[in-house]
Subunit: 370 residues, 2 copies
Amino acid sequence: MGAEETVRDLAAQMDIEISGDDPWDIQVHDDRFYRRVLADGSLGLGESYMEEWWDCEDLAEFFCRLFLNGIEQKVTAGLLLPSLAARVLNLQSLRRSPQVARAHYDTTVEHYRSMSDPYITLSCGYWKDADDLDEAQEAKLDLVCRKIGISEADRVLDIGCGFGSFARFAAERYGCSVTGINLSAEQVRVARELADGLPVEIVRCDYRETDCYLGDRPFDKVVSIGMFEHVGHKNYRTYMESVHRVLADGGFFLLHTIGSNVSQAFNDPWYDRYIFPNGMLPSARQVSGAIEGLFVMEDWHNFGPDYARTHQAWYERFDRNWSGSKSDPFYRMWKYFLLSSVGGFKARHKQVWQIVLSKGGVRPRYEPVT
Amino acid sequence: MGAEETVRDLAAQMDIEISGDDPWDIQVHDDRFYRRVLADGSLGLGESYMEEWWDCEDLAEFFCRLFLNGIEQKVTAGLLLPSLAARVLNLQSLRRSPQVARAHYDTTVEHYRSMSDPYITLSCGYWKDADDLDEAQEAKLDLVCRKIGISEADRVLDIGCGFGSFARFAAERYGCSVTGINLSAEQVRVARELADGLPVEIVRCDYRETDCYLGDRPFDKVVSIGMFEHVGHKNYRTYMESVHRVLADGGFFLLHTIGSNVSQAFNDPWYDRYIFPNGMLPSARQVSGAIEGLFVMEDWHNFGPDYARTHQAWYERFDRNWSGSKSDPFYRMWKYFLLSSVGGFKARHKQVWQIVLSKGGVRPRYEPVT
């Protein structure tokens, strides 16, 4: 079977037609697309999209169908397909190292401002009672504070604080003091600037360097929102041990992370190259293995579908504020990332977890908050 | 150090005094107690209580202190202690095979009636808005129905249905049909009798024998309340695969089980001999490993402290309705079991989990119910 026929056949199994009329069908502009997808899999699919070799009116629904119809099992079953195809088809490597690589982290705060809420929150919003992105992000930040009962007296640690979104919100609304830690010089700079005048301290260090941020007594509460995805499965236990070390007895740790339905030790190669270098989504088994004997799991809330709405809202703001050409690979990279994420969360292929953990267990009882 | 001194020293580390005045202190009536506890550990502690070698005014608080002060780590650290002590002290075996062994399962429904609610529900109640045991058990049964949206049209499976408590409640209040499965002839007999006239079928078979209860189409919903504790860690995956096989696509599985903070492959020896032969409490890691790739975890609710109140209420009813001698080893066995459980759940040493799982993920979203 030729490359085109193979790809058409696979697409048909996903309820997707090549050159079809439905919004989730795809239009191929460059016939090299077929061989590239077979040779490079997920990486080839994403890169060829960035290069405008194909298009799709409803990219989110396209991805939703891939996941609902088990694209991953099919690709896993034919794990050797890419390298095999490369040999059979005698392809030269089609991989490039585009200018946009690593763009996610080289990008300045202005890019994130263009797509996010006023707090520049780069994690899943909470849409239960929200009508727009700003409300959903405030609701999420507030949910975190309410779940672990943050009060004025608390000294709170935020591991991987981004642009200081949670730190500012919690300090402003609840009057607590917050220490945020972060490795990115750019994020630390911006977070410090934005938190000026608030009881917020931003420290540039690794979560393992507890001496750099602990101070003279343990934290009352610890939160970590959208950072565990960057820890890597080999470090999950070390991460939990670090939190355990800096948290007071009886204190809460709220872990907010994307979750995977199955345990993995690798990242999707396109996401790894363009969006999250060395990122990795934890499974429930991996998280619960890492906390065993350290914390009591008080509550495990899953609101994964809200990340579909969040990515959709980010896409809409990003698209509206984009003044350049829509053929620009940077624009197409972000569109591809945001809308494939919409599809992945809509299909329930990925989850969003808020896990409330306590050091030693809450007595008399912990009441779930939603 | 002599046996008495060793035990006094260990007790002191738990904030417990032998012959002390506080209600959680213990009074030793037979000096053989010290050597027996050292030789037989948990088994010796329980058996010597049944034989009235010692007493305690507030047994629940005594156990709470043991768990809060890390008795398990201390005993694990000195794992060889029992056999070592037996050799050093040149003890003959003090173990007996009391008449009461296996009494838990030989006991008729009348015993359970004497301590439980009108539905004879033998699992944790839900005390959030309840004032007494009957309310707490109805609230729990209703919580299960509400969490998975049971309606009249549903065909529901209850794995390990006990005396038919959930089956009757759900059929009466929600009008659904329920198939309960159970291995105990006595429970099957009573459950059938009590469910007479309701759309409830009770089948005596093992959960693995899916052909015996599946019928001509998959179940819309599956529940399992207080039965997973009897499955054993080697069967967790098989158990989940069986549920997956008999559940409709998009259907819910609600697992209600006691949970352990750490993974284990054994049972406490006293509980094993007298209350739960071959019982085993799963950890979060074991449960999430067993469901991986089969279900999406929609919600994980922990209301462990409610089992302290449930066991306390069971103890009070049992004690009130007991007409025999309170020196009877059967009475003391149940008192010991019920009050040590109060202590274990109060200390947050054990948890109660209701885990809502879906086959394929709920779209657009699952809303937690409390």
